[in-house]
């Protein structure tokens, strides 16, 4: 069983919800990323989504766009991400790591080389926001052959037929996008989310995790009541941005935000 499935099995046994933070690798500078990952785990992260910076992050709002720009100023590449994960794994063999980003950097790296190096470094899953299952026919089998989970998005606008396709291809967990819009948008509405998750539950046993619009303990707790996990990105990346000039303050800032969510989620 890979780390993601193991983690959800453990959480289920404990009756707890997954807390999944996202940060952009290399933001504000590559030297800090591994420290931030450990800080997230200390604050209660169950899985870490590590963002692959991209020059054209079409599905992201300004907060994560700027994080990509900060990371790219340091020339952060996939090769650096693999080094970061390798270093993280020296002290943490359990916490699953999912690479999240856009297809082009992976396409340019080469699918085989990407899958080899990702799995060797200790990556567990891959989520490419501009690669829906219909377009995953080239990369998907390569990831699978290296034991990497392909994680897909489901949106409020996803038709029932498409949801069935996504459920059939998805591994690890389903990432339900709670809002129409880009990352960092308006607050999530738990009742609306519950209504959309119900039909998905009938289609799949995959854990249903909800992202977009989770900002604090209250929103995390509200969504946690209807989902198997909550994903938080912009709220954390904003703290990184505010402290970009004094990165030594960032781990504590991340722990404060995520810790509050952990508490609220477990209460």
């Amino acid at each position: 069983m890979n780390r993601i499935d193991q983690r959800f099995a453990d959480l289920k046994a404990q009756g707890r919800r997954a807390l999944i933070p996202y940060i952009t690798a290399g933001d504000p500078a590559p030297a800090h990323t591994v420290d931030f990952m450990h800080a997230l785990v200390r604050a209660g992260a169950d899985i870490i989504e590590l963002g692959v910076p991209f020059s054209d992050p079409m599905a992201d709002g300004p907060v994560i766009q700027k994080a990509c720009e900060r990371a790219l100023r340091h020339g952060v590449r996939l090769g650096h991400l693999f080094e970061m994960v390798r270093e993280f794994r020296r002290d943490d063999a359990e916490t699953p790591v999912v690479l999240m980003g856009y297809l082009n950097p992976v396409e340019r790296f080469g699918f085989e080389a990407f899958a080899d190096q990702a799995s060797e470094a200790g990556v567990d899953g891959v989520l490419l926001v501009d690669m829906p299952p219909e377009e995953a026919d080239l990369l998907g089998p390569v990831l699978e052959s290296r034991g990497l989970s392909s994680i897909f998005l489901v949106a409020p606008t996803t038709s029932r037929a498409r949801a069935a396709t996504i459920c059939a291809h998805g591994e690890g967990y389903l990432y339900y996008v709670s809002l129409k819009g880009v990352t960092g948008g308006a607050a999530a509405d738990a009742d609306d989310i519950a209504a959309h998750l119900a039909p998905l539950r009938e289609m799949t046993d995959l854990p249903l995790c909800v992202g977009f619009g989770i900002r604090d303990g209250a929103s995390a707790a509200a969504v946690g009541r209807v989902a198997d996990g909550v994903i938080v990105g912009s709220a954390l990346v904003s703290r990184i941005a505010e402290n970009a000039e004094r990165p030594e303050a960032i781990p504590a800032a991340l722990e404060a935000v995520l810790g509050e969510m952990r508490q609220a989620l477990d209460a």
Partner: protein
Amino acid sequence: MSKFSDLTRLPDDRGHFGPYGGRFVSETLSFALEDLEKTYRRLREDPDFQAEFDYDLAHYVGRPSPLYHAERWSKQLGGAQIWLKREDLNHTGAHKVNNTIGQALLAKKSGKPRVIAETGAGQHGVATATVAARLGLACEIYMGAEDVERQKLNVYRMRLLGAEVIPVESGTRTLKDAMNEALRDWVTNVDDTFYIIGTVAGPHPYPMLVRDFNAVVGREARRQSLEEFGRLPDALIACVGGGSNAMGLFYPFAEDDDVAMIGVEAGGDGLATGRHAAPLASGAPRGVLHGNRTYLMSDEGGQVSDTHSVSAGLDYPGVGPEHAFWKDVGRVEYVAADDAEVLEAFRELTHVEGIMPALESAHALAHAKRLAPTMRPDQHIVVNLSGRGDKDIMTVAKLDGIEF
């Protein structure tokens, strides 16, 4: 029997042209694209829709556009006869309006009260703002901040037409960033908004429908060639940024194997300098951007490259997926013309024929200037004069050191 008889059957059901194209978008947009595809496939077969489209092209755009014999220029170049497909004479001054008329009709039939668009040089923005004004649709145009600066006249035109122009400050502040921002808007407002993409790129079905709406250019040029010189042309030349004017001209000739086709990309400072916008001519690697797989200028880390061209409308790192496929199968030859050659062609046509071309179209003219002297006077080249140059006067004046 044409070697290329399969080309016009594409894209396939998934929107692929061979290995290119597709629908590489965030899940939130999948529904809207499926819906658009369904609507379009239905209306394409609907005679009423086609009649309305044709009526608008005739009475609002002013089609057919003439096929003009540039006799004096041909004589001066001393070779083949050059014929200009006068898309510059369309309402709003470029081929772009063919597509915006079509998509605005789709928006109307879909009941969406708001349209958005990206624009580079501003021609597509103007064409979108124009049809939005006519149909009473709210209209917002995303434009790279650098292009807003380069194309002040078009920005003001769009505002006069009632559109809101939103300067995009992210990334390289040009066309690709405008498209990112338009996609972000669409993801957020997908319920009430129709995204009028301006070129044969983007996620399926856009490359197909933008091609279809522009194919009127090639259909007319084919008929006019037979009328004017009694046979099909020996060569077609068109500039290629995203590639909508080129695809519009080329597509109806796809199976005419004896008609050579040349797409001219923006060579910028020269292909060797890396400062250009010529993914096909420079043999850029395969990549994925803005919903489709194509030739894409990116660095070895997969970060999309900053491009350069004197013409804002060609300043784009990717290219329509159908062009990518036509390059691979050898149906079209893709070359580049650099800024200096383009400016020379711009001045030459203006002086010799009294026609001021858009800097984009001047790329095609620059190649005609190279090709015509290598051909016989009884041979014929059709060049797509895709737009007029009024919008570029400030750019050219600045290069001449003139301030107004």
